[in-house]
């Protein structure tokens, strides 16, 4: 073939193998990863850079909008609606109790069976620190200026507000005597009517139909307590008396006590019977109150009735609109801090309960009794939760709350959890039935699965609403929420059955033979050998199904139930001031959906990775 062999064809390795060396630096670590994955080729580098620019730009736009101009009040002033819908106000403690129960049980179970990574603890600690920190910082950042227009027709007017002792409140009068002054856009909260007037006048001034130079306003602005006595500083009443020539200086006062105050702006008709012209009345240091009537009522109970006056205007959110772009500090104090202050108590209590349960779980994980009790508590929690939610007809301690009032996140989670808990066994049973040797069972299961899969969910929900009672009168009394649960469950079970069937198909026949050879009956074989392997193999598909079930619950809005998405309609129809801010509400709700879905798929990934006994680990 190749002729003669020489001694150079003979090779013997040296007796000692070479020592192992570390790989070159540029191929390992973060730098190596970036090189290998983001800049491995010119095309990849270009793609990386382009995508970074696009993503960065989008992120910038989103942040810019949400910090500088979005109005998140629609979210944080309606958290109760968002979380529990129209659940009876005085009974809301029941929902909170359920939340507390579940948080504690979760902590306990994680302590016993789970493993909470340090990262999770760090995240929770940091979040709590941020919540409390922002609250502290937010309280220190001053409130933006309130603008009201003083003008011949609507003055005198009074601003009624709630002040805290030690707050520094200041006010000033800024005459609008030339075009430049009236064209300057105010920055802060502008009273709604003033805003309309101002923009009309500014247009007229530009057109030349209004002569700003004919400014001739005598105004007095003074601060009063609810009983009508003036607020004084160094013994003198705090007031500005502005003449056409001298607008007076800014008045600043530290409020003597907590309670209602009234800033009265009066036109001095005696000094001047030809008052004309326009001026801004600017007030700093006053916090706008949430406009919900029940909150306002609560404040009157706490601080007494608010002062009345001619043309009194309450410093409430509904009467003002933020104008201009916010600074980051204002974003923190106006948007983030109020939001966090509404959830701070719940966050702290929730964390405490969770830690409590977790510590008990850690300590008791070796005790059979603790484990048994925890399992029993989960099982027991189902009827307890339903009883707490629904209440008892005619009971005084636990009056019934009709399920039609359950809404928001509460309803979404309820539909999801019930849907998952009920559709899982049903789906598994259908999958097994479809593979059954008995033709009748097989036919029924196949028919059910294919029928449900051939119909959109919304149709099934409508059927649950309309057609079912038509077929069987006994069902017409059935609660709408329960009907929706059934609809969602049946739908999810059909898809789940197909996923599980996929898992059953990949179980090698040898597994079944081995089980039979060991004398197992079909029931043992299914529960001990087939299902554990089949289900584990299709965890991603099953969790995917559960995630879509979670999102699909939003369709129950079509039958008049208001879950997380539908609740936005309730918010804006009840409170028209929030109509312009539906965008913010939907974004927040999208965030909730995302966080929960992400958590679910994360759990699925962990489940998949845990244990070496997956089918894929077979050699």
């Amino acid at each position: 073939m190749r002729g003669e062999y020489h001694s150079s064809d003979h090779y013997v390795a040296p007796p000692e193998p070479p020592t192992s060396r570390r790989p070159p630096v540029a191929t390992v670590g973060p730098l190596g990863w970036v090189r290998a994955n983001l800049f491995s080729s010119p095309i990849n580098s270009i793609a990386t850079i382009v995508m970074a620019i696009i993503l960065g730009g989008l992120l910038w736009l989103a942040l810019d909008w949400s910090i500088r101009s979005a109005q998140w009040g629609v979210v944080f002033n309606n958290l109760r609606l968002i979380t529990s819908g129209l659940y009876t106000r005085s009974e809301i403690w029941r929902v909170e109790l359920i939340g507390a129960l579940l948080v504690m049980l979760t902590g306990l179970s994680l302590g016993i069976w789970g493993y909470v990574s340090r990262g999770v603890f760090l995240t929770v600690a940091v979040s709590l620190a941020v919540i409390l920190g922002v609250l502290l910082i937010g309280a220190r950042i001053g409130e933006p200026t309130l603008y009201m227009l003083a003008e011949p027709e609507r003055t005198p007017a009074s601003l009624v507000f709630l002040g805290t002792q030690g707050d520094e409140v200041s006010f000033e009068i800024e005459p609008l005597t030339d075009l430049e002054a009236i064209n300057a856009r105010p920055l802060g909260y502008i009273e709604n009517q003033s805003r309309t007037d101002w923009s009309t006048r500014a247009r007229e001034a530009r057109d030349g139909t209004l002569d700003l130079g004919a400014y001739n306003l005598h105004l007095t602005a003074a601060l009063f307590r609810p009983d009508g006595s003036p607020v004084t500083r160094d013994g003198a009443p705090v007031r500005i008396a502005a003449t056409p020539d001298d607008a007076g200086s800014t008045q600043t006062v530290e409020l003597p006590r907590t309670g209602w105050y009234k800033l009265e702006v009066v036109r001095d008709d005696e000094a001047n019977d030809e008052n004309a012209g326009y001026a801004w009345v600017k007030v700093r240091g006053v916090e706008l109150l949430p406009s919900q009537s029940e909150l306002l009522a609560a404040r009157e109970v706490e601080y007494g009735p608010r002062p009345t006056a001619a043309r009194a205007l309450l410093a409430e959110e509904a009467a003002y609109r933020y104008e201009g772009t916010r600074t980051f500090a204002e974003f923190i104090s106006l948007q983030v801090a109020p939001f966090l202050s509404t959830i701070a108590l719940e966050a702290v209590v929730g964390t405490a309960l969770f830690l409590n349960g977790w510590v008990i779980g850690i300590l008791g994980r070796r005790e059979r009794r603790v484990r048994r009790t925890t399992l029993a508590a989960w099982v027991l929690s189902v009827p307890v939760i339903l009883l707490l939610l629904g209440g008892i007809e005619g009971s005084r301690a636990l009056p019934a709350v009709p399920s039609i009032q359950w809404g928001g996140l509460l309803l979404t989670m309820l539909l999801t959890v019930v849907g998952i808990a009920a559709s899982f066994p049903l789906g598994v049973a259908l999958a097994l039935g479809r593979r059954s040797d008995l033709p009748v069972i097989k036919l029924v299961c196949t028919l059910f699965i294919e029928t449900i899969r051939g119909v959109p969910l919304i149709t099934i929900l409508f059927m649950a609403k309309l057609i079912v009672p038509f077929f069987w009168v006994g069902l017409s009394d059935l609660d709408m929420t329960v009907r929706m649960m059934i609809g969602v469950t049946l739908f999810s079970a059909a898809y789940l059955a197909e996923n599980v069937r996929g898992g059953l198909q990949i179980i090698p026949h040898g597994q079944i033979e081995a089980a039979r050879a060991l004398g197992m009956n079909p029931l043992l074989m299914t529960t001990l050998i087939v299902l554990p392997q089949a289900l584990r193999a299709v965890i991603p598909a099953i969790v995917g199904q559960f995630i879509s079930l979670f999102k699909d619950t939003s369709l129950v809005a079509v039958v008049g139930l208001f879950e997380l998405v539908g609740i936005v309609d309730i918010i804006v129809s009840g409170q028209p001031i929030y109509r312009p801010y539906q965008r913010e509400a939907y974004i927040f709700i999208a965030l909730i959906y995302f966080v929960i879905s992400y958590a679910m798929s994360d759990v699925s990934r962990r489940l998949e990775a845990s244990g070496a006994g997956s089918v894929h680990a077979r050699r």
Binding site: P508, G510, Q511, E513, A514, A515, R516, A517, L518, G519, M520, N521, L524, L528, I529, P532, Q533, R536, G611, A612, G613, S614, V615, A617, R618, R619
Partner: protein, 249 residues
């Protein structure tokens, strides 16, 4: 391992016939196997060896003839099948361990759920068996983490955990790398010496010669020749047997 005390056969096959569709896979099988006997079945691929031993624990159904195991005739009666399966252990070519369970659970599962033994007893016995097959340290591992030879030894332990009277082996070493075959055969030898009744399908002629009491030669669905190893390897009678031996030896 001589044919001992009892003269009553533990397995009796009378005129067993089986078809897969129209394909006549077992033809008039007649054989009797005595307690503590080791019978090795050899024969070319596709001759029906696996089908035959699978009929004995009813993984396959025969259509004609009788199979009587330990006095119980195999029929459609579910109780009979359950009773017989719990007396017969089986070891497969592909191990068929349960991949989602640890070695310990693989072995103790059937005793716990089929025999309803307390968990602690079942696991203790499982550990003894692991010791017996030479891998006591692997109890907490999953099958996927073991070598082929170790997996097959676990499979043997799993079958023994039900304390069977008879063990069936269907080519237990055919899926193994050469260096692992011996460890499995050693376990089987030890088992044979302990007096277990064994029915072994194998191509390991060394094992057959050394351990078997009798050798059964299968071809095209029938038994062609039965004899002791000396007779079988030194003086085969049938032409088909001679041809087969000349091909493999």
């Amino acid at each position: 391992m001589a044919q001992s005390n009892s003269n009553e056969p533990i397995i009796v096959c009378r005129d067993v016939n089986k078809w897969f569709g129209n394909f006549h896979v077992l033809k008039d099988i007649n054989v009797e196997i005595y307690p503590q006997e080791v019978v090795v079945i050899i024969g070319p691929s596709g001759s029906g060896k696996s089908t035959f031993i699978r009929c004995i624990n009813r993984l396959e159904e025969h259509q004609e003839g009788q199979i009587i195991v330990d006095g119980i005739e195999l029929s459609h009666d579910v109780r009979n099948i359950a009773a017989i399966r719990s007396e017969i252990g089986m070891v497969f070519q592909q191990f068929n361990l349960f991949p989602h369970l640890t070695v310990l659970h693989n072995i103790s599962l059937a005793p716990r759920y089929v025999r309803r033994q307390p968990r602690r007893d079942a696991e203790q016995y499982a550990l003894q068996l692991l010791d017996r097959v030479g891998i006591p340290e692997q109890a907490r591992k999953y099958p996927g983490q073991l070598s082929g030879g170790q997996q097959q030894r676990v499979a043997i332990a799993r079958a023994l955990a039900m304390q069977p009277k008879i063990m069936l082996f269907d080519e237990p070493t055919s899926a193994l790398d050469p260096e692992m075959i011996k460890e499995v055969l050693d376990v089987m030898k030890e088992l044979a010496q302990s007096g277990m009744t064994m029915l072994v399908v194998t191509h390991e002629m060394g094992f057959a010669r050394e351990v078997a009491d009798r050798i059964v030669f299968f071809d095209e669905g029938r038994i062609v020749e039965v004899g002791t190893p000396e007779h079988f390897f030194t003086a085969p009678q049938h032409d088909r047997t001679k041809l087969f031996l000349s091909q493999i030896l």
